[in-house]
Symmetry: C2
Subunit: 197 residues, 2 copies
């Protein structure tokens, strides 16, 4: 056991995902050896984030104000909404610079085995956005997993009758990947989704 | 780029050793999803550690008071001192429950290539402890590396003329290890240090 305050920090760090006892110890001693101001900045950054970050009132992305920066952006195409599982998925999509619509964070994907049914996800909130934003297309960008696929199917079934187009991100070979390393499922999807040249 | 406060925390987390951009992002979103109190406890633990932890006035271990818990412990054998490179090495030695003396944290090991000479390490402070604590043996527990060995040699050369016994932790095969996996240097040390049965 280390001196109390050191051990308490090691304990807290160990609770973080992917940080084991050894890493926590290494991080604690690192924070003990750096400049006081550097350690302080990390502590403040944690507190500030929790104090300042809210959930966007429209799309449930993280937001520093009532609405997130994407929802506040007047240049976005409001007729398209991209449905993602978690806020961090938005950044990945934004980096592609291929998408100019808005988002909707579901908060997960349908997973009956984990007790996550439609009532636990933000489908109703998405439904409520259709009319005021005059949404014409819902792009489902849930993960290409069984749960993500089931969620996409559910959205198609619920939203197509409302007259909106429901699309799904393509599954297939990763760009720059090697055919040799592709698993059968991915390769199967790539075959089904093949396009004419 | 994430909303300001999220990005600032990601930036701070990325500065930690062994935490890349992806891990920092994952940790930040984890801290956003946990209970407010959990995130707050981590921030407080960092600040508290920096506020409360000092360096032991005798052995330079981490200490919550003027002297560390080991130096304050009246049952320790003060005639033996174990020299380590860093405070975290003390814990590893304490876990063996084989050692009942005190410690001395050098602050590193001799490494001319990195500009660390005797002047950068706490040799003088160790010398000053010899008389008041009536130290009879100095156990050198620096790492079994070139730098650690050089440091051990230096200590032997400087301290033996003072009439103290200088010893070094044995190098050899790790207990439970496989001879097959031992590198030649370790095996060579194991041979040199062999003991009669």
């Amino acid at each position: 056991m280390f001196e109390g305050p050191v051990q308490r920090l090691i304990d807290e760090l160990s609770r973080l995902p992917g940080i084991g006892a050894k890493s926590a110890q290494r991080l604690a001693f690192h924070l003990l050896s750096v400049e006081e101001a550097d350690a302080h900045r990390l502590a403040v950054a944690i507190t500030d984030m929790r104090d300042q970050i809210k959930t966007c009132g429209r799309c449930f992305n993280v937001a520093a104000e009532e609405f997130c920066s994407i929802c506040r952006d007047q240049r976005r195409d409001v007729s398209i909404v991209c449905v993602v599982e978690r806020p961090q998925d938005i950044i990945v999509l934004e980096r592609t610079q291929e998408y100019r619509g808005r988002y909707h964070v579901l908060g997960g994907s349908l997973s009956p085995i984990n007790g996550i049914g439609p009532g636990q996800l933000r489908f109703g909130e998405l439904m409520d956005r259709l009319e005021p934003e005059r949404i014409e297309e819902v792009i489902v960008a849930t993960n290409p997993t069984i749960e993500g696929d089931a969620t996409a199917m559910y959205i198609a079934r619920e939203f197509k009758p409302q007259g909106v187009k429901v699309t799904r991100l393509a599954s297939g070979l990763p760009v720059g990947g090697d055919l040799d390393y592709a698993d059968e499922l991915t390769l199967g999807r790539a075959l089904i989704g093949r396009s004419e040249l």
